[in-house]
């Protein structure tokens, strides 16, 4: 099952130029599935970085605009797009010039794959 999901995500990685990796983690940043290219920055794939998403969306929810769905952070060399699929979080790490809209468009391809993983994570919590 995981191998099938990995294969689909690997194909998506090739479709978006400048996309370095896709990580599916739980809310604490613990990786459930990692699909990396060799250009992926190692520091950004660690739980210490990925778990900040949970804190950020908690704060974002206080803006009164409803539940936060997506968080986009643009840095000088990279951009990180994180999607709220609690109990899972999907993180995309890409170059700063990568097409953000194209990354957001991947949501509809990845979402159907998450059902089984969500059950697995929900069972352990």
């Amino acid at each position: 099952m995981v191998e099938e999901i990995r294969k689909v995500i690997q194909e998506l990685l090739l479709k978006v130029s400048g996309l370095y990796c896709v990580l599916i983690t739980d809310r604490d940043g613990v990786p459930v599935l990692k699909v990396l290219t060799d250009k992926a920055p190692e520091l950004a794939t660690r739980p210490a970085f990925l778990s900040t998403f949970g804190l950020a969306i908690d704060q974002g929810s206080k803006l009164g605009l409803g539940k936060a769905k997506t968080l986009i952070c643009t840095y000088s060399q990279y951009q990180i797009v994180q999607m709220n699929k609690l109990p899972l979080v999907i993180s995309f790490i890409a170059s700063d010039t990568c097409n953000t809209g194209h990354i957001l468009g991947l949501e509809k391809y990845i979402e159907p794959l998450l059902a089984n993983l969500t059950v697995a994570v929900a069972d352990t919590q």
Partner: protein, 89 residues
């Protein structure tokens, strides 16, 4: 803030045969969509333009026309903005 773009989109839609339009910025994020056009297409439209521009780097802003039996989609970038217009054939 987006009144001007709204007006442009209304103008585009008032042309005969036009059924929808969508505009994206340089990051592929949707600026606006009207008619039978999805905001989800904005990223793809930007990516298509980027790839098509690589075919002839010395020429700027190619016009890309995608066509099926019933509809055409015309895409062009102007500056940082990419627009796509959907038309019935």
């Amino acid at each position: 803030m987006e009144k001007q773009l709204d007006r442009v989109m209304d103008d585009v839609l008032s042309n005969p045969g036009v059924i929808g339009c969508v505009f994206a910025d340089h990051q592929g994020l949707c600026l606006g969509a009207k008619g039978k056009a999805s905001t989800d297409s904005a990223g793809i439209i930007g990516a298509i333009t980027d790839q098509a521009a690589k075919l002839e780097p010395q020429h700027k802003s190619p016009v890309i026309v995608l066509e099926n039996d019933t509809r055409t989609c015309i895409i062009q970038r102007s500056g940082t903005i990419t627009g796509a217009i959907y038309k019935n054939i």
